[in-house]
Symmetry: C2
Subunit: 251 residues, 2 copies
C-alpha cells in the first residue's frame, strides 16, 4: 500500500455556496474523511483506536486554496503523514481537480488521547511505532505551517450562538467542522462576493458541549487578515473558556 492515500469526492450541490463553489467547511470535512480513510486502511484509524481506548484529536488545521471545486465537480484529496512524534503527528493534504490541476493544500496536527483519562497518549506506542512505516517526508506541501494565532484584547464580540443538536458529535462535543462553518458565517454574502478565503487556520483548544453558548470575538490584524477567538460559556458553571482560535486570510 502506498504511503499516500488518494480519495475522490464530488462537490455536492448542497455543500456549495451561492457562487457554486464548495464551502470551505465541507472541504475541511472531506479532508478529515480522507485522513480517516487513510489511517483506517493502514491500521491506525479511529475505529481501531476506539477498541484500545485511544482516539485521534485534531489540534490544528490549515487550508490554503487557490481555487475551490465547483458544484458537481469531482476532485481528489491526497493525504499523507509528514512526521510523527510521541505526542503529535503532522498530516498533509493536497486537493486537485479532475484535470489534475492543484487547487490547494492542507496541513493538520493531531494528538492522541486515552479516551478514559482524556490525557495525551503516546502515538508511537501503537503497534510498536507502526505509524513510522507510513511517514512520507518527500512529497511537498508548499504552504506554511500554522503559527500560533496572536490576538490582542481589542477583539470585538461580533456574535453569540447557542449550540444545538446538529453541532454535536458522538463524543458529545461540537464537531471540528461546525466551528469552521460558524466562523465563516460571521461574514455575509455581500462580503464573499468581493472576497475569497485564501487561507483558513484553526487551532482547537477546548471542547464545547450542547447548551453551551459560543461567543465570537473578531479582530482585523492586517488589511486582509482577521482573527477570531471562540469563547464558550459553560451552561452549568457559567464559566468562560477559550475553545478555539482562527485566522482567516482573504483575497
Amino acid at each position: 500500500m502506498d504511503k499516500i492515500g488518494k480519495y475522490e469526492f464530488i462537490a455536492e450541490p448542497f455543500h456549495c455556496d451561492f457562487s457554486g463553489h464548495l464551502c470551505l467547511g465541507n472541504l475541511g470535512n472531506q479532508m478529515l474523511n480522507a485522513a480517516d480513510f487513510h489511517s483506517t486502511d493502514r491500521g491506525f484509524g479511529m475505529k481501531y483506536l476506539m477498541t484500545i481506548q485511544r482516539s485521534w484529536v485534531l489540534s490544528r488545521l490549515a487550508i490554503e486554496m487557490t481555487e475551490m471545486p465547483q458544484q458537481y465537480e469531482r476532485f481528489t484529496i491526497e493525504t499523507w503523514v509528514e512526521n510523527a512524534l510521541r505526542f503529535f503527528t503532522q498530516r498533509n493534504f493536497q486537493v486537485s481537480g479532475a484535470n489534475g490541476k492543484i487547487y490547494g493544500f492542507g496541513r493538520s496536527v493531531w494528538a492522541m488521547i486515552d479516551t478514559e483519562t482524556r490525557q495525551p497518549s503516546d502515538i508511537l506506542a501503537i503497534d510498536n511505532g507502526a505509524i513510522n512505516q507510513w511517514i512520507e517526508a518527500e512529497k511537498p506541501c508548499p504552504i506554511e505551517k500554522g503559527d500560533r494565532v496572536k490576538m490582542s484584547n481589542e477583539a470585538e464580540l461580533v456574535r453569540t450562538i447557542n449550540t444545538h443538536y446538529s453541532d454535536i458529535d458522538i463524543n458529545g462535543h461540537v464537531n471540528s467542522v461546525k466551528y469552521i462553518e460558524h466562523v465563516i458565517d460571521l461574514w455575509d454574502i455581500a462580503w464573499y462576493r468581493e472576497h475569497q478565503i485564501k487561507r483558513f487556520d484553526i487551532a482547537y483548544v477546548a471542547e464545547t458541549h450542547q447548551g453551551d453558548k459560543i461567543h465570537f470575538f473578531r479582530e482585523q490584524t492586517d488589511e486582509k487578515t482577521y482573527c477570531v477567538r471562540l469563547v464558550k460559556t459553560d451552561q452549568i458553571t457559567q464559566e468562560d473558556t477559550e475553545v478555539c482560535r482562527c485566522k482567516i486570510l482573504f483575497t
Copy 2:
C-alpha cells in the same frame, strides 16, 4: 440502464449525531444527491436542465425510518420515479444497510420551473416526455404519501434565526437541507436521548434569502407529533411569508 438507480454512501463521522447515527438532514442530503445522480444518468438532471433554462424544484419530501445508519456504515439509497404528470413528478427512495436490511423509505414531489420566468414548466415537454420511459410503478414504497400539514393559529413561536452565508445555495436561497437541520435543532439532545424521529415531512412553499429572519412556530398535534411552520421576515420589505411546513413524528 435500470429504471432504479442505486448509490452507495457512507455515514461520515461529522454527519453523525451524539448517538453515532447519521443525522436526518444528512440522510436527506444524500437522498437528494441520489435523485440528482439518477436523473443526470438518465438525461434529465439539473446540469442538463440548466442549459435549457429549466430546473427541478423540490416541493415535498417525506422520510420514514425504522433505523438510521451508524457512523462509518456503508448504506445504499435506491431511487426511482413513481410517476410523472405535466407539473409534478413523484420520486421514491429506499435506504438499506450494507447487509441488505431495509432501514426506511422516502417520498418526494418535484415541480419544474423555467429559471427565467420562475413559472412552472411542463415536465413532459422535456425531450418529448422522455421521463416516461423511466417510470417504475411496481417497486413498493410502503410509506404513506405526505398529507398537507394542518396547523392551527395556536402554534407557538419557539425560535428565530438569522440566515447566514452557509445556508444559501447557488440560487441564492436557503437550501432545502438547511431547513430540515434547523427544524431538527428545535429539540435538544436530552429530547433525542428519549425520542427518535420516525417520520419527517416537509413541504416547501416559498424561498428565503440570506439576511431574512426565519421564525419557527411549533405546535404539538398529538402525543408524538409536532408541526412546525417556518415564516420568514424579508429583510427589505419586512413582510412575513410562510416558507415551509414540517411534521415530525417521534417514537
